[in-house]
Symmetry: C2
Subunit: 110 residues, 2 copies
DNA sequence: TCTATTCATCGTAATATTGCAATAAGCTAA
DNA sequence: TTAGCTTATTGCAATATTACGATGAATAGA
């Protein structure tokens, strides 16, 4: 009932779904795109850029940080965020294995 | 609230998050992996393979079908599901654009 | 020290998602 | 037709997610 039955699935399946959850909200997609474009930016910039309330952005940043996709360092009173490129590439590799499963076996069957 | 503010984001950002939602549950990952492995299978096979109740599997299949990632054709009393390879590749292309954003600009900044 | 600024956390309200029992719908075969 | 099988739908309960006001923590500058 509303509780995902994690124990029924393999570690890989749970991992892939966890990765996907990071991208499963447009605000987090927007944050990542902005960080790629700008290379580095403060939390406050994201608030004005995206137009959600500051606690909401902070919450999305926390999720991305927990997955290791971004990192933040304190600079005076503000926090500078950027993509963690090593972890991003690792994530990409993991996800690619799933996305690039062999499609050549046959034509659509049905 | 709890209501995602879709209007605040670009069409692309909303699209990517919608794609990601398809993979954001291990049961749907497991269904897709099984369909890749077996190439085609009946809904009932997935129920025994994955071990969730039949209505639950049916619901996950519905979501994957709505995204166009899988398709099902009725065969007698059962339904044969398989990957929609055209749509799968289209999805992969869209997601790759997001995943492969340029990382070469600089080292980690912070 | 006091104030202003920036960001994180807490608490809460609302919507979304997950899971399943019960049931409906559709087909096959007797 | 009836019985049996398979899958979809409905309805409900429980957990998860999203959003934001209020507040707290930390720093910089007056």
């Amino acid at each position: 009932m509303g509780l995902t039955k994690t124990e029924k699935f393999t570690e890989e399946q749970n991992h892939i779904s966890t990765i996907a959850k990071a991208f499963a909200h447009p605000a987090r997609v927007a944050i990542l795109q902005h960080l790629f474009k700008i290379d580095t930016c403060f939390c406050g910039d994201l608030v004005t850029e995206i137009g959600l309330a500051q606690p909401t952005i902070s919450q999305h940043l926390k999720e991305l940080k927990q997955q290791g996709l971004i990192q933040g360092t304190i600079e005076g009173t503000s926090v500078c965020y950027c993509i963690n490129k090593e972890n991003w590439n690792a994530m990409k590799g993991k996800l690619s294995l799933f996305l690039n499963q062999d499609l050549t076996l046959s034509m659509n069957c049905c």
